[in-house]
């Protein structure tokens, strides 16, 4: 995978919200890359900063209260964090498409589905209205909405949840973007519909060679679609690796916790589901040490005092945990069946 080109490069991103109660440090020193054609998942509990990270990339947050504090975002060779609003407008929808969590509220209730799709085409491509509507209809076919002819003139409230999410995907992909950001695209849907939407996204990714960033709290969704996974906690990346590495050889106690709290179908894991006790820290005043320490069964004194550095397990697998420090006691990794060495 190393030979693929970098599409999105986020470097040391810091993003905050200024609220009446003070500054919320929603994203703290986050760096990652997305390759062309790759699918990446960002996983974490709600409020961990995963959505804010991507909205900062797209610059969708109203500013203020949002504030881009530091860092660099390079997309397709251009430093878009320096772009003007007008320049960003030409990127949004055409080069980066985005799908949101709740298809019930993400579509304009007073505009027909066809117009909502055609709108993005008209904005970015020099085509006539009729041509845009024709393409909108084609997009509805592509995302698997039957009777596109009729559907195109309908309003969102005439669509079911799954259909609306398909329509959202049609909007996001209408201009064949290089990157698709999907913010919890299946969370609000029924389980059977979830699978359909994920399949659709996988198919379309292959068809259009789009990179996907999937934001989710659901590891089940991630296993299905992601090549690489980023685990975020309290505005920081605490572990990142390939899908295999995260699922088979997770290193951070938080990742262990996440995996244990997910129901799994494979028979060998007959263990009980274990919830992670407690709630994430208040980002008005993030703790000085490891943000997870207070909920971590393996926490040490040092964890409360200083933030751990990243340790490289393999070229692709990084983790920020004091257990990796040479002084730390050896802890049995509950997911490790045998000694784990670099696969590369």
């Amino acid at each position: 995978m190393g030979d693929r080109e970098v599409l999105l490069d986020v470097q040391n991103l810091e993003y905050s919200f200024d609220t009446y109660a003070g500054e919320v440090k929603a994203v703290r020193d986050v760096s990652f890359q997305v390759m062309k054609g790759e699918s990446l998942a960002i996983v974490g509990e709600s409020g961990c900063g995963k959505s804010v990270t991507m909205q900062a990339v797209m610059r969708l947050n109203p500013e203020p209260p949002g504030r881009f504090k530091a860092g660099k975002i390079i997309f397709d060779g251009r430093e878009i964090s320096k772009f003007s609003e007008r320049q960003m407008q030409s990127i949004r929808g055409s080069e980066i498409g985005m799908i949101f969590q709740d298809p019930m509220t993400s579509l304009n209730p007073t505009m027909t589905i066809g117009k909502q799709i055609a709108e993005v085409i008209l904005k970015h491509q020099k085509v006539s209205k009729a041509e845009a509507m024709k393409r909108a209809k084609e997009m509805l076919d592509v995302v698997g909405i039957p009777n596109a002819d009729r559907r195109i003139n309908q309003y969102p409230h005439e669509f079911s949840g799954g259909m609306r999410q398909r329509a959202m995907i049609a909007i996001a992909l209408a201009c064949r973007p290089k990157l698709l950001i999907a913010d919890e695209p299946t969370t609000a849907l029924d389980v059977t519909i979830q699978a359909q939407i994920l399949d659709l996204m996988k198919d379309l990714q292959r068809e259009f060679n789009t990179s996907i960033i999937m934001i989710t709290h659901d590891l089940g969704v991630v296993a299905d679609i992601a090549e690489r996974i980023i685990v975020m906690y309290a505005g920081k990346i605490i572990e990142t690796g390939t899908s295999d590495e995260i699922f088979k050889h997770p290193q951070h106690p938080y990742t262990w916790g996440l995996l244990k709290s997910v129901p799994r179908l494979d028979a060998q894991n007959k263990e009980k589901l274990v919830p992670i006790v407690g709630t994430p820290p208040d980002l008005f005043a993030p703790p000085v040490g490891c943000p997870f320490a207070a909920r971590c069964n393996y926490a040490m004194k040092i964890c409360y005092e200083a933030q751990p550095e990243y340790t490289n397990e393999t070229d692709s697998h990084k983790v920020a945990c004091w257990l990796k420090h040479p002084y730390a006691p050896k802890v049995k990794n509950p997911f490790e069946k045998e000694a784990y060495t670099s696969e590369g």
Binding site: V277, G278, T279, P281, D282, R295, N297, K301, I302
Partner: protein
């Protein structure tokens, strides 16, 4: 740099107390609402003004040695002076005393109407919303039709028929005013009754009356209070309007509306006589509206973060 010594690498486990303490202290809905209201300076200033107004309505008329109805035809239309702080009107009555007597009447009308509207509206809307179905259908159709009847025109008609006076104003305005509250409460109850805690109460065998009174109304109290706060200035305005066109309470009793009406007799010569009651009507309406806005922001859970 943090000192990384070996002794710090000993597993002490999750810090339960700290992970609990991280959570912001939990405060009740009303505490939170009060905290938010206190931060709203405009709403607090309005509240302070209204308290001042109530106090003046009680004590103001006793601050000067004049009777509000006493006419002094040798001292008509006097400007502000040490004797008559707000001057006198065309019949030589002391305006300072009359303004605060007017405040009594205007505030009394406003508050009474808001209260009666709430009592009727909450009962009606609560019943319609709770029972739903056909009951709701019929009850709300009636409300729809009443709502369609132009408010002020009906009040004027009722006033013409019933004759002028304090209680006829109140009766006429309550007869037409409660429907707004009924709609709000019914909407709230419809939403709330689907929630789990109501189902739980039902499962436990609570009677409809108990569920409405103990579970639904308290949870709908926010919008009810906000709506009442807006009802007061509406009533004050309606009364002033009626009095201004000559359908208000009967002389010598004074409300701010009748003071404004009296002033029109000498408007071009002594506009001050209109501006004084006008000022108090305006500021009071403003204060209630601003307080209502503040309450709505403080009580509406949808706006919370």
């Amino acid at each position: 740099m943090v000192d990384i010594s070996k002794d710090k690498f000993e597993i002490i486990g999750a810090n339960a107390s700290e992970s609990q303490s991280i959570v912001r202290p939990s405060i009740s809905y009303w505490q939170d609402a009060w905290r938010r209201l206190k931060m709203n300076k405009v709403a607090m200033a309005s509240l302070v003004f209204l308290i001042f107004l109530v106090l003046m309505a009680i004590f103001g008329p006793y601050m000067r040695p004049f009777d509000y109805a006493h006419q002094d035809l040798f001292n008509t239309n006097k400007p502000f002076s040490k004797v008559h702080w707000f001057g006198t009107d065309y019949l030589g009555r002391d305006l300072f005393v009359r303004v605060w007597m007017g405040a009594r009447v205007s505030l009394f009308i406003g508050v009474t109407i808001a209260f009666l509207d709430a009592v009727i509206g909450v009962t009606y809307g609560g019943i319609a919303g709770y029972f739903g179905g056909q009951v709701d259908n019929i009850m709300m159709r009636i409300v729809d039709i009443l709502y369609g009847i132009p408010y002020l025109i009906l009040v004027i008609l009722l006033m013409v028929v019933m004759g002028q006076g304090l209680w006829t104003i109140i009766t006429a305005m309550v007869m037409t005013g409660w429907v707004g509250m009924a709609r709000i409460v019914r909407g709230q109850v419809l939403q709330l009754k689907e929630q789990e805690f109501v189902l739980a109460a039902k499962t436990l065998g609570a009677s409809p009356g108990r569920i409405i009174l103990r579970h639904l109304i308290p949870n709908a109290l926010g919008p009810i209070i906000v709506s009442m706060t807006f009802d007061v200035p509406n009533a004050i305005f309606s009364e002033a309007f009626l009095s201004y066109i000559g359908l208000g309470i009967r002389a010598p009793l004074a409300s701010w509306g009748t003071l404004a009406n009296d002033a029109t007799q000498v408007l071009l010569m002594y506009p001050m006589q209109l501006f004084i009651p006008g000022f108090f009507i305006s500021v009071t309406m403003l204060a209630f509206n601003m307080l209502g806005d503040g309450l709505r922001d403080a009580l509406d859970p949808r706006l919370r973060r």
